[in-house]
Symmetry: C2
Subunit: 173 residues, 2 copies
DNA sequence: CACTGGTTTCAGTATTTACTGAAAATTCGG
DNA sequence: CCGAATTTTCAGTAAATACTGAAACCAGTG
């Protein structure tokens, strides 16, 4: 069916575009998110040149963002025997993607935040002025909360998909 | 103790700076995050001019970001009787902050994402090609997952702080 | 060991996003 | 209404970020 091929292409472009836009709201570069979307919806690994063509971007841009995705652990490099160039393939399992993103964001955002909060809490611990006490309390509460969040995220990430979903279902029931 | 006053100021500046940096990693403007940090660690509501001075920013910038914080629901406007100008005060309760941010991010990011995923899943539902099937499956899985996340976030946001913490503790235990 | 196909780097440029400062609008007491 | 105190808007500019394209690099091959 010819119509389907066309339609699929346009749906896919829609997805890629929107996923890219979403990415930039989160602190992720638009291109990186687009490449991710492209690879997630590809039935086979793609070469750098295919990515460049599909998204109409430069080689440098494609290269940098592909490598960044590999660094995040969202994309794998695939080598075909007899082929010299590299191909790229995205992780497609949603739970796995979630865990990967959670781990990476934790490392890049939560940990630094925690260290600031600890520093501020420790530094103000034995102040006696009203202002000092209030500051200490605020920092301590933030620290406690962020720490809890961080531990929860570890715990959830270590669950099997099925178990997590089951738990979620119970919670929602 | 004079030393404490100095130290507090520098700790606070540290916090404000780092919170601002964090903010820009998330898709929030640096200034907005800094103002939020400033107000969170203030023992009293501040005027626009105080915010401008403290952070060395322009009136326009201060104004825009204060209003944005109010729109998010993270900051309240306070009027003092006999005073014409407005003062601003941040929500300090960590759980409340969390809920507010979660709700807002859901509205701005999750909902739009869901609508794309639905559109893509619906549009490809009855395609028969291998590519079409794969695309549909991927969209459906993403949709399902995002939907679950969204419901969970609603559920958690509707809990009392104490209850949520208790549940977290059990989960971590 | 030079050639080919491919990857990596990066200076320069374009795009996006955030900020300034001053003018315009609004509010309110007199 | 008038004018002083404030808030709001926004055109212009600055800063941050992302992208290009070409050159340098690297790894197999004949």
């Amino acid at each position: 069916m010819k119509a389907d091929t066309e339609k699929l292409k346009s749906l896919r472009d829609d997805f890629i575009g929107q996923w890219g836009a979403m990415g930039s709201q989160w602190g992720i570069s638009r291109t990186m998110a687009q490449i991710h979307a492209l690879l997630m919806t590809s039935t086979r690994p793609l070469s750098t040149d295919e990515v460049m063509d599909e998204l109409a971007i430069s080689r440098g841009n494609a290269h940098t963002n592909l490598k960044e995705l590999v660094a995040w652990g969202l994309v794998r490099i695939v080598v075909r025997k007899g082929e010299r160039r590299e191909f790229f393939e995205a992780e497609k399992d949603v739970w796995q993607i979630f865990i990967t993103v959670a781990r990476e964001r934790k490392r890049r955002e939560i940990e630094p935040a925690l260290s600031v909060l600890r520093r501020c809490a420790d530094g103000s611990e034995d102040m006696t002025s009203e202002e000092g006490r209030a500051f200490f309390e605020q920092m301590r509460q933030l620290e406690e909360f962020v720490e809890l969040t961080s531990k929860m995220s570890d715990r959830i990430a270590s669950m099997k998909h099925g178990f997590a979903v089951q738990m979620a279902a119970k919670l929602l029931g």
